[in-house]
């Protein structure tokens, strides 16, 4: 195993290095960062048999084009529905492939999704901050943004022919526009019309959308009276409402405290779905009880474990796969 060196021919804005996230420093003003879509990130790593939080590249709508300058490395791409072009051939997203010296790989915006992940069979060299490579986009701390013209070095790059092919996509995530929330902490300060509008009308994502959060468009949410609350902790998923009544959902690189009232919080499972939507897409908030939120979280953790275990099974090398195909066609032949 040796190094693989990738030259970045083009990197759009907000293409960053991310590991599983820097959990545990919220008390110092540090959001966890890490992948916007935790499921797709974990799937990309699992498809290579990596540890679940290994450093990968998060590709934004801006896209990424790299060329392998030396060495070879097997990599996994997952998340959304991006258009992949590898060595001149188009392929669907959710794929494991090997990038060889002289080959180009482009990951560009497709029909759906906002974030895709490229994980490697090897170790991407990346700066750490507080023990993690996750990029905090506001400060640039951590692995940082990928820039056009830079090199990406993958140490101990491995070729894993036995893992090449399509990655099964998760089927346990909610689909459609529904976004489940637990109301509060400040829901009682809003007018009843505002609660009604929040729960019964649709909101759409605006293009004011980055790793810190996404501003929504829809019915304004008026408070009962001018509210001045002392700054309090914010979490990923907090739906904060500005003085003008405009809601913003806080995401991976959120501010850690704020004085704006929070009408509700999106449950952790549904954030993975929310972040893959794009500007103009609609969502419909559905209020659930904290008890229901807990049981959804437990079911989700269970489903995710099962899914990742399935994705992490190697398919065997080319010879083994050919033999499997022969056996299958042999069976079909016998039936004929």
């Amino acid at each position: 195993m040796s190094d693989a060196i990738l030259a970045v021919h083009f990197a759009g804005a907000l293409v960053t290095l991310q590991d599983g996230g820097r959990v545990g420093h919220l008390r110092y003003g540090v959001a966890a960062s890490g992948p916007m879509d935790k499921v797709a990130f974990a799937a990309a790593n699992a498809a290579l048999g990596n540890e679940p939080d290994k450093t990968a590249i998060e590709v934004s709508l801006g896209g990424l084009i790299v060329e392998c300058k030396s060495g070879s490395v097997t990599l996994a791409i997952a998340g959304g529905d991006f258009m992949i072009e590898h060595a001149g051939a188009k392929t669907n997203g959710w794929v494991v492939l090997t990038l060889n010296e002289g080959e180009r790989l482009s990951v560009r915006v497709g029909t759906e999704g906002s974030w895709a992940y490229i994980a490697f069979a090897g170790d991407v060299i990346a700066d750490e901050w507080l023990g993690h490579t996750a990029t905090h986009s506001t400060s640039g701390f951590g692995g940082g943004a990928i820039q056009t013209g830079q090199q990406i070095i993958v140490e101990r790059a491995d070729i894993r022919e036995d893992r090449e092919g399509q990655i099964e996509q998760p089927d346990f995530l909610p689909s459609g526009t529904r976004m489940r929330v637990v109301m509060g902490p400040q829901d009682k300060w809003f007018r009843s019309e505002a609660i009604e509008a929040f729960q019964n009308t649709r909101y759409s994502l605006t293009n004011n959308y980055d790793r810190m959060g996404v501003r929504l468009e829809g019915e304004h949410l008026a408070l009962d009276a001018a509210l001045s609350i002392p700054s309090e902790p914010i979490v990923r998923g907090s739906v904060q409402v500005s003085g003008e009544g405009i809601p913003t959902i806080l995401l991976a690189d959120h501010h850690t405290t704020g004085g704006y009232p929070k009408i509700a919080t999106v449950i952790s499972t549904d954030i993975n779905v929310l972040v893959q939507k794009r500007s103009g897409h609609e969502i419909a908030f559905e209020a659930i009880t904290p008890e229901a939120a807990i049981s959804i979280a437990r079911q989700f953790a269970n489903d995710l474990d099962g899914y990742l275990a399935q994705v992490s099974i190697p398919r065997g090398n080319l010879q083994q796969r050919l033999m499997q195909q022969n056996l299958i066609s042999g069976v079909v032949g016998f039936d004929d």
Partner: protein
């Protein structure tokens, strides 16, 4: 008021001790934070102390809002206000040009001379109330009443790291280039981001902070020595 436990999504409880900020509330929050951090009830991931409340996040596979609330209520009733002396921290500050952006404006607003503003700032008893906003922004309470000014109407962009600034009762030393509506009265060479995973930041919530005046020359020497050109 009675302590309120509010569920936040599927993984946190917001524990609110009071509606308004006060010294007693701050002490109660520091004591409760220490009690939870010491006991670390099953499933707790982290505790985030703030001005009138604490956020306690947890792993929903291991515990839930109801179970955790019961454990926190027990801890709260046993949490003692400790009379331990808080840790004292000293932050150096240069009030000279070109770092005194808003010093004259603050002086004018308070009907004081620039020197009187500096002396009032140096005389304050500051306490770390919470961290917030972005990494390392420690909100220090205790700005002297004579120099309390409101936030500016509009935020100013690209305020560099190391700025010492005030708004209302609070003072803050910036750690990142960010926009702000606070009034900047000086610049500090004291490092708050220590870049050490074991001790990432200079302050803990509850620490006492005092400011020490330094000259421009001393600032430049210290700034150079800390590797920030």
């Amino acid at each position: 008021m009675e302590t309120q436990y509010t569920p936040v999504a599927d993984y946190a409880l917001l524990v609110t001790l009071a509606d308004d900020i006060s010294d007693d509330v701050h002490k109660a929050i520091v004591a409760f934070d220490q009690a939870i951090t010491h006991a670390m009830p099953l499933g707790v991931i982290e505790v985030v102390p703030a001005l009138v409340n604490l956020l306690v996040s947890f792993d929903p596979v291991v515990t839930d809002h109801i179970q955790l609330e019961a454990e926190l209520r027990k801890l709260h009733s046993n949490a003692q206000h400790k009379d331990d002396q808080p840790t004292k921290r000293v932050v150096k500050v240069c009030y000279e040009s070109p770092f005194d952006f808003d010093l004259d404006a603050v002086a004018k607003a308070c009907n004081l001379s620039a020197d009187a503003v500096i002396n009032a700032h140096l005389a304050g008893d500051y306490k770390v109330l919470m961290y917030g906003f972005v990494p390392g922004y420690a909100y220090l309470g205790g700005v002297d009443a004579s120099i309390q000014v409101p936030r500016k109407l509009a935020a100013v962009r690209d305020i560099p790291a190391g700025c010492v600034m005030v708004a209302g009762t609070q003072c803050l030393v910036t750690t990142l280039k960010m926009p702000t509506g606070w009034s900047i009265i000086g610049r500090s060479p004291t490092q708050i981001l220590l870049n050490d995973p074991e001790r990432p930041f200079l302050f803990d919530v509850g620490d006492e902070v005092s400011f020490e005046r330094i000259s421009l020359e001393t600032y430049q020497q210290l700034h150079k020595a800390s590797g920030n050109e």
